[in-house]
Amino acid sequence: MATIHIDGKKYEVDGSDNLLAACLSLGLDVPYFCWHPALGSMGSCRQCAVKQYADEHDTRGRLVMSCMTPASDKTYISIDDEEAVAFRKSVVEWLMTNHPHDCPVCAEGGHCHLQDMTVMTGHNFRRYRFNKRTHANQELGPFIRHEMNRCIACYRCVRYYKDYAGGQDLGVYGAHDQVYFGRPEDGVLESEFSGNLTEVCPTGVFTDKTSGDHYARKWDMQYAPSICQGCAVGCNISPGERYGMIRRIENRYHGEVNHYFLCDRGRFGYGFTNRADRPMHSTIRREAMAAGAETAVVVGIDAALDEVAGQLRKAKGVVGIGSARASLETNLALSELVGPGHFSSGWNQEQTRLYAEALSTLQLEGVKIPSLRAMESADAVLLVGEDVTQTAPRVALAVRQAAKTRALQRATERKVPTWNAEPVKNIAQRELSPVYILDVQPGKLADIADTVVIGRVAEQVRMASAIAHVIDAAAPAVSGLSATQQQLAKTIAAGLLAAKQPLLIGGCSAGEIGLVQALRQVAVALVKAGKQPLLSMVLPEVNTAGLAMLESSTREVVLRQLQTGEADTLIVVENDLYRLLPEAEVNELLGHVRYLVVVDHQLTRTAGKAQALLAAASFAEADGTVVSMEGRAQRYFKVYEPSYYQPEKTVRESWRWLHALKNVAEGAELTWTTIDAATAVLAEKVPALAQVVNVAPQADYRILGLKIAREPRRYSGRTAMRANINVHEPRQPQDENTALTFSMEGYTGPQEDSALIPFAWAPGWNSPSAWNKYQNEVGGSLRQGNSGVCLWEGRQATAGYLPLPAERPSLSDDCFEIAPVYHLFGSDELSARAEAVQERIPSPYVLMHPSVSPVAEGQQVQVTIGAVRFDCPVRYSDTLAQRCIGLPQGLVPVYSGNSAVISAAAGGAQA
């Protein structure tokens, strides 16, 4: 702590920070550009100048850059000093000399840090009378628009993209007033985190193209606190809607999870909510006039409920398949409707065991489940069998920060403050904290890895077990290791042991329980060696953890009920059977189903076969609770009400449909009228989920007696929005469910600590920088606390070591072990349905090591896995484990089995 004096007032601040951060944390306004809480200081923009005095007697003082000056004890500064004010005004004036006058058409306008700072400094008169320099723009792919003329050369983009996110294809070129920020040439920005440029850039150089294509001003959109549906990490997002359409996703600050950054799947994958083919009203297939044929008829909510409830009453038995992409409430409602014995997660037995094993491993005594923030402070990382860049991308970004803890350490040794970004980099040069990877192929994190060990699953298991044995001799020993392998195990073990905070990351993507167990060995060994390792397990979907915590049957069990005729009616909720089972199996199964009900917000192949398709709300139109891979239960809230714009749109949360069906079918009264009522039942029925009632404030939460406004104060045009339907302005939709309101009338802003922050705004701060105003200290926790509840905080006892798994039988020559390969764009069901993302999805292929491929690269092979057979071009990878075949998930047909047979296909070469 330090005492500093600002304009004659005394403040206590964190003395290890710089003055700019200290002032902002105190709530004082100091304008800045090049500094960013996640990127540190570099002192180039000169915007944050303040007057510093030697002591209390000094009256002359001198201008210093607050971001480059430590907030040490007995610092005397003035923000209001006349000269400092005038200098800061000049800085904006300089920046504006070349900045175009295109605010009215700029996609940054209204949430622009440059606009805010210009107003803050008081620059309002143009003295520059000469020509502006101009630049050409680049084509950067489907996500990001480039407008270099707006650049103010704060260098944030390159510092974020290269130094923070490890991107390789964005740079700064040229010199003097011709510095240019972009790719070496036109082309898609390759980083999985390119979207953050739109928020890191303080002006409109990098803007969200998916949003620009249906642009609305920040102040004209309606928002809700929401959770990204892209993977199991649980990043907080702030979706913005206007005219019944999601227009953009912005990062919603969370001090422990995503803080300032999202991945591109999360930011640009929202298009599935806007698809034209979305079921926005329910349809029932009825006998048509012409005998035999059927037509789908649009029905209202009550008619749909009556009809489906009637069918359920008639059924011999009803079976329900829930989903890991659906909320806890929805899955519980389904289970309540069909009865626990007939409710399935949709997972087969193997998956069910796998997820259970992952969850129980996480809850071992002595290990800690890290938030992303905690991961960033790890100083050694071991990744086993999980290509996090593709499966839980935001984790990869955290691992990239963990690799830099060594640099911070080195800087501290040389007495350089860690916020002083450039010297920290210079001192460390290429030195990184160790990152070790065991996988079937290196993955993108290989560029920061100390060592990458490539091998099939069994080999990874052996290596991980060997590492555990080196750490603690009591762990089962692995026999038959080569000298190199033993050396590798020793190196990695030593690296983990030397670390203050080792981090272990595994997961379920390979579908191998052995990998989870092997990582568990390492975790237990580290615990026995006196460490408290961080342990993280990547789970496949947004609510895999939540679903795994509910009681459910395996897929085999409920399908047997259909196959044996015990049940004849199937309800599939937010799931697609064709993504679970091979096509032939689904078709066979549906032959046993007399009546298929699908509740979904997407027109999946399964939905296309439904007798009754009930229009579900997506996360954008729903309230619901999901549990992240960290065990953090978080709530997303409805962003908007579709029927306001188009009354014929009758989407409802799946849990509402299911609860209503139960009540109509049983003639009971509706009790789940609000999300609070639903979570109360959940808490009561599932003890492990007792905390879900505390995940977010309840519907009666108020600030200063007000509900929380979803719309900014300046929200405009509301009276005219529906004028095409009726010139009388209707009443705004009412939200009885939650503490939010579909209105600008309500609480907005950071003055009071709010547990619900739909969007970041503070007086004078319209850009994402406004988050500073909501934090305890800039870049720290939100003042109201970080949202969500970590459900796995209480620990089970450690079970000790497991025996080593049995060796797998070796593969015959034409037979390959399947290695699922994941793609950020393409492997995730929902985002793959977004138009912008579709441009980035690779075409199908199978991955093979050149030494074992029967055909040349680009040629077709025939892949046979059990009854599944398909043709695909081969892509070579000389870093893939040799006896593996990489199958890109979501791009090739669903298979079942561990190994595939490959033969040269007749088709020949394909382009």
Binding site: Q168, D169, G171, G174, P184, E190, D447, V452, V453, I454
Partner: protein, 173 residues
């Protein structure tokens, strides 16, 4: 099981002509890399080596250098475009660098500059149609006592007068 050590991802240019290294170029670059604790420091050497062989540095050369030095093309191009004397566009067989700083200004470089432009029929930054000359301004050449100064390829010419220009240029074919 095999191990891979970390390697940065490389960006390979898909613009411009394919790039084929001359053996001497590669040898010279590899030699330069040994002079520093980190190969990155050979970036400028590498750019100059390529430029010496090919007069200028194309996009594909940037990508090729990046590959050799294990850097990204963005990094290499960032360096290449920062410095005055790396040419990212084609130049003529001979580059005439005209010092336009204060020493040569006081001794009348402008007349020499004008004369060169007149003789060659091009403006600074341009190359003659026969590909023979490119004219560029350059910062103070450190010979203010002997201005105006020109640097043509590797030859420094001092005390140049407008009258000497034609004859001087004739030496370069």
């Amino acid at each position: 099981m095999s191990t891979v050590n970390s390697k940065p991802q490389l960006i390979v240019s898909d613009r411009g002509e394919p790039f084929a290294w001359a053996e001497e170029e590669l040898r010279a670059i590899k030699e330069a890399m040994h002079h520093y604790p980190d190969a990155r420091a050979a970036t400028i050497d590498a750019l100059k080596i390529v430029q010496r062989h090919r007069r200028w540095v194309s996009d594909s050369a940037i990508a090729a250098i990046a590959e050799v030095l294990q850097l990204s093309a963005a990094d290499v191009d960032g360096v290449a475009t920062f410095y005055n004397r790396i040419y990212r566009q084609p130049v003529g067989r001979h580059v005439i660098l005209v010092c336009d700083s204060i020493g040569c200004y006081l001794t009348g470089f402008e007349k020499v500059y004008a004369r060169i432009q007149e003789v060659l029929g091009i403006s600074p930054g341009q190359t003659t149609a026969d590909d023979r000359f490119t004219i560029l301004p350059v910062v103070c050449l450190g010979a203010c006592d002997r201005g105006p100064v020109l640097l043509i390829d590797e030859d420094t010419h001092f005390n140049v007068t407008p009258d000497q220009v034609s004859q001087l240029l004739e030496q370069y074919t």
